[in-house]
């Protein structure tokens, strides 16, 4: 065994770089946006090309309430992160919990909508092009909601356990960027599926 010494300079120079968390999240969002773009293009390309019914105009109903829930969850998560940055952990946990509830309502609503489509309207992913593209695009978004909710719930569990502290505000902010992205994608999906595609 031998030992050696590493000199440590007294003055660290001023040198500010972007934080790696947000940069990586922006990159991930760019990649995800590209994936969604392909699915949206496929959806728009196949609008009105289904050989057989059911058609979107007859079976789709715009889920206004669910949309309001999901979009409000962006606001609640923003307030939660801001509370944590100010050091108010209790307030953070409540608003974070609200976000999880709103996301859960959205997911449950989607499940109900799908159940209706499958059992009442007879539309499955195999039925026609509309079914294939609809379940793929909305399902891809729902998959992202599920992933987001999983991560949010994990943080909520940490918060309830008392492990979330103000110094974690940057990390929760990175997670909130992902959640904002999921909401923004829903605006696109909603416009394409329930407005243009109908």
């Amino acid at each position: 065994m031998s030992a050696f010494s590493i000199p440590v300079p007294e003055h660290q120079p001023q040198w500010n770089l972007p934080a790696r968390g947000p940069v990586a999240m922006y990159c991930l969002i760019a990649a995800e946006a590209a994936i969604f773009t392909i699915f949206v293009v496929a959806y728009i390309f196949y609008v009105g090309k289904s050989a057989t019914g059911p058609q979107p105009a007859t079976v789709l109903h715009a889920p206004i309430f669910l949309t309001v829930c999901l979009l409000s969850s962006s606001l609640t998560i923003h307030i939660a992160v801001r509370s944590l940055r100010k050091g108010n952990v209790g307030r953070f946990a409540w608003w974070w919990c609200g976000t999880v509830v709103l996301g859960g309502i959205f997911l449950a609503g989607t499940a109900r909508e799908w159940r209706h489509l499958i059992y009442q309207d007879g539309l499955t992913i195999q039925t026609n092009l509309f079914g294939t593209t609809y379940y793929s695009l909305v399902g891809l978004h729902a998959f992202h909601v599920v992933m987001g909710l999983g991560a949010l719930t994990l943080v909520l569990a940490f918060a309830i356990h008392g492990d979330v502290r103000p110094e974690h505000s940057e990390r929760t902010e990175v997670l909130s960027m992902y959640w904002h992205f999921v909401d923004a994608v829903w605006v696109v999906v909603f416009t394409v599926v329930y407005i243009i595609g109908r």
């Binding site: 000199p7 007294e10 770089l17 590209a34 992913i125 026609n128």
Partner: protein, 557 residues
């Protein structure tokens, strides 16, 4: 300046037992080890892909040859293309990026070391999955084997009806999984370049290699994702009974082509831009001059990355697009020649008036300049839609893109191997063997791919397993196949050189080339923490400043 100091206990100098060493390699999150793992993994697949190419060329050496059956031939060209692009070329460029980017920007590791390991093992698993198809591809049907639908897997060939068994599923999942790994690594590279630079290294003072890998990372993020989405759709079609690419139910086979090539063309630049990066580091050092036109090089790279996203449908001129569509893709494809041409002139201007040293890395880079120019010229020929209507799907196209990928990219990758081998292993390679490799490979390359253009012009289509005698193709195919043996011999010399030098080479020292970038300021091979003290830089060539305090670069930049 140093008043305080940290004392680090030195690890015992005895070699740990083999199991422990292997365990360390499997569980490592060190960017250098992961870089080496990526490169070794890619070399294995390079050999696999090379064997598949050799099998195809032996089959085509003369008309009516029956070395392999048509079915095997289909599997060989599919596996060759998929292997070389996804499991040889991409891991090689990722491996070098992993190894070099943190060292060159003066960081101690990548931004996300564990994500780095995760991405590598995803890619490794993808490669394993692809080759497992030889055993598991027939599933319960007794019908499949390795994938045989071509590397771009056009619909409807990939539907359940025409592709029984699991061969296509293995292809989809292998590419999908390795694609997720590629995205992870790309995110890591971008975050490392943007967030981990050492003090003083502004974007304008980064080595070109870091700049170009930043652009490459961005391209991977934006181009692998469409492929991933398209693979998801194909999985939905094959497993859930969807109709995305099912023409019977109104689906479109052309949509798959668009989705594939939206990935496929930027992918060429995902591979070419790191190759440019190697050339941009090697050519200045062996010309003993700073790179000519650094800002223009960066701008040209960004322009290439940008334009490459809008040229994909030049792979589809024969599909029958509208006149406006054809015109757009002709013009955008021709436009990409402008920034690429700027780069070639900048490399030539770097060499101009320099004290050129023709060491092995430089030989490969000079050959790259010449061959990449020719590859670009045939590319411009093919970008003209009427010319492409004649030659699309012929051996002329095969010759063109192998000129890009072998003559352009692989040559600089070989150059990079020789240039950074002393850093990675701590030993010098054997110069004589290196030159032998270069000449064998250059002769083989030109025999194969120069002469491959001619049967293409004479109308020989790609992917045929045999051909009739008397069409004027025979002699050219013979020459092409002979060239393959030269290339194989060159590759064997290369691998032998690596192995021999790793154990028997002379010690290289930290800076064998008298180079200027930060990776040469630390030991060879670098310690786990890279730099004992994080460097502080004031110019693009920090080591030049250190070696020439009387005339530092930052006086001029």
């Amino acid at each position: 300046m140093s008043t305080a100091s940290i004392t680090i206990g030195h690890a015992s100098s005895e070699r740990p037992p083999l199991v422990e060493t292997l365990h360390q390699w499997v569980t490592t999150v060190d960017h250098k080890r992961l870089g080496v793992l990526y490169i070794l993994y890619a070399l294995i697949f390079l050999v696999f892909g090379g064997i598949e190419a050799t099998i195809m060329r032996i089959q085509l050496i003369r008309p009516h040859n029956d070395f392999v059956s048509p079915e095997v031939f289909n599997r060989m060209f599919t596996m060759h293309g998929t292997t070389m692009i996804f499991f040889a070329a991409m891991p090689i460029v990722f491996g070098f990026a992993n190894y070099l980017v943190p060292l060159m920007v003066g960081a101690r590791d990548m931004a996300f070391p564990r994500l780095n390991a995760f991405s590598f093992w995803l890619s490794a698993f993808g490669g394993f999955l692809l080759y497992f198809s030889f055993l598991g591809g027939d599933g319960l049907y007794g019908a499949g084997n390795a994938p045989d639908v071509g590397w771009f897997a056009y619909a409807p060939l990939t539907s359940q009806t025409f592709s029984l068994g699991h061969s296509t599923d293995f292809w989809i999942l292998a590419v999908f999984v390795s694609g997720l790994g590629s995205m992870g690594t790309a995110i890591n590279i971008v975050a490392t370049v943007l967030c981990m630079r050492c003090p003083g290294m502004t974007l304008g003072k980064m080595p070109l290699l870091a700049w170009l890998n930043l652009v490459m990372g961005g391209l991977v993020i934006l181009s692998m994702s469409p492929l991933t989405a398209a693979q998801l759709m194909l999985l939905i079609d094959r497993y859930l009974g969807g109709h995305f690419f099912d023409a019977q139910a109104g689906g479109s086979a052309v949509l798959w082509m668009h989705f594939f090539w939206i990935f496929g063309h930027p992918e060429v630049y995902v591979l070419a831009i790191p190759a440019f990066a190697f050339a941009s580091e090697i050519i200045p050092v062996f010309s003993r001059k700073a790179i000519f036109g650094y800002p223009v090089m960066v701008a040209a790279t960004l322009a290439i990355g940008f334009i490459s996203m809008s040229v994909w449908a030049h792979h589809m001129f024969t599909v029958g697009m509208t006149a406006a569509g054809n015109t757009f893709f002709v013009l955008s494809t021709m436009a990409i020649a402008v920034p690429t041409g700027i780069k070639i002139f900048n490399w030539l201007a770097t060499m101009w008036g320099g004290k050129i040293q023709f060491r092995t890395p430089m030989l490969f880079c000079v050959a790259f300049l010449f061959q990449f120019l020719i590859a670009g010229l045939t590319g411009i020929m093919l970008s003209a839609a009427p010319f492409d209507w004649q030659l699309s799907g012929s051996y002329f196209v095969v010759a063109h893109f192998h000129y890009v990928i072998v003559g352009g990219i692989l040559f600089t990758v070989f150059g990079a191997f020789y240039y950074w081998f002393p850093k990675m292993s701590g030993r010098m390679y054997n110069e004589a063997l290196g030159k032998l490799h270069f000449w064998l490979f250059a002769i083989g390359f030109h025999l194969t791919f120069d002469f491959m253009h001619i049967p293409g012009l004479l109308g020989m289509p790609r992917r045929i397993y045999t051909y009739e005698p008397g069409r004027g193709w025979d002699i050219w195919n013979l020459i092409v196949t002979i060239g393959v043996f030269f290339q194989a011999a060159g590759t064997l010399v290369f691998l032998g050189n690596l192995l021999w030098s790793k154990w028997r080479g002379v010690a290289a020292g930290s800076d064998p080339w008298d180079a200027w970038t930060l990776e040469w300021s630390t030991a060879s091979p670098p310690p786990a923490y890279n730099f004992a003290v994080l460097p502080e830089v004031r110019s693009r060539r920090p080591l030049w400043d250190l070696k020439h305090p009387e005339d530092p670069d930052w006086h001029y930049e």
